[in-house]
């Protein structure tokens, strides 16, 4: 066998991202098996992983995990480059932007539940805008807004609670930017020493 001329050495960070992304992809695929009454109303269980990663490892890794999940999840479900893919992608990007802002809220007051709900609203917002501009060029799409908004609150709350629970139960990372996170500090505060 010809030895490879390029040597790619994954760092521990790479492995961690891959592990988390894999967990998120599993949740995405499992969730696709749940029958749901309306297209677009999904629990978004994979976002639990994003929230945990955000709180423990910071925003950059959360972006990696979330976007890898959207990409690989759509490939696995045969949705890649289909309308559903662009809806997921726009939702994920908007959520990540909002999460990047929300993580700087005071951690004493706002935990993963807040992050989750705010991100869920960003998600439906971006999806509705994309759907309105591109897929259904009619204001009728906004007729479904109340349903999506309620789903965002309910699933945002549930996902946030699960993420908070996981964060409380997981052992603190051996070394990492957010090792002090369990003390109730905000991810933002815990994240800053690395910068």
């Amino acid at each position: 066998m010809t030895p490879s001329t390029i040597e790619l050495t994954p760092t521990s960070e790479d492995r961690r991202i891959a592990r988390h992304a894999a967990a998120a992809i599993v949740l995405t695929v499992a969730e696709a098996a749940i029958p749901l009454p309306l297209p677009g109303v999904k629990p978004g269980l994979a976002n639990i992983v994003t929230l945990v990663v955000l709180a423990r490892w910071g925003w950059r890794e959360a972006v990696w995990v979330s976007l890898l999940r959207v990409l690989a999840g759509s490939l696995l479900l045969g949705q890649f480059l289909a309308p559903g893919f662009f809806l997921s992608l726009s939702g994920a990007l908007a959520s990540l932007l909002v999460l990047g802002l929300a993580m700087h809220l005071p951690g004493r007051w706002f935990g993963p539940v807040s992050h989750s709900i705010l991100a869920a609203f960003a998600h439906i917002g971006a999806q509705l805008v994309v759907a309105r501009l591109w897929l259904v060029p009619h204001d009728g799409v906004f007729y479904l807004l109340p349903v999506f908004a309620l789903a965002a609150v309910v699933f945002g709350l549930v996902n946030g609670l699960v993420a908070a629970k996981l964060l409380a139960e997981l052992p603190p990372p051996a070394a990492g930017p957010a090792s002090a996170n369990r003390a109730g500090q905000s991810p933002a505060e815990a994240d800053s020493p690395e910068r």
Binding site: V113, I117, G140, P146, A149, L161, K165
Partner: protein, 129 residues
């Protein structure tokens, strides 16, 4: 694993509760503004294509509209209106009952009479996707 409510509630921080409540307020606001289909504020009665009456839905009244077959009676009540009687053979417009949404229309085709409700949000009369 037992589902312990108190244990889960401990995971909520004060601001989280505020965010949940705000989210529900957004939902309620969205329902009120998008699903009230516009409460109607007026009714337009046409006969043979011409407007014969334009009334608001604030007080009760009966409007008698003559047509080719006879007289159709439109009944107006606060916030709603209906065709109370019509000489047409199949009575579709009468059986439609009370109209309560802006944009709703009852048409008595044989007698060439129609009743439609107006409102600020009556910019479409059906949705499909």
């Amino acid at each position: 694993m037992r589902l312990d409510v108190a244990q889960w509630r401990a995971l909520l921080r004060p601001g989280d509760v505020v965010v949940v409540v705000l989210g529900l307020v957004v939902c309620a606001y969205a329902v009120l503004s998008l699903w009230q289909g516009g409460a109607p504020d007026g009714a337009v009665v046409r006969a043979g294509g011409r407007v014969v009456a334009e009334v608001d839905l604030t007080r009760e009244r009966l409007i008698e509209v003559p047509g080719p077959l006879g007289v159709s009676v439109i009944e107006i009540r606060p916030g709603r209106a209906r065709v109370a009687s019509d000489p047409g053979p199949r009575q579709y417009c009468v059986r439609q009952g009370w109209l309560t949404q802006a944009g709703a229309v009852a048409i008595c085709a044989p007698n060439q009479v129609s009743l439609s409700l107006t409102g600020r949000a009556a910019d479409y009369d059906s949705l499909n996707y």
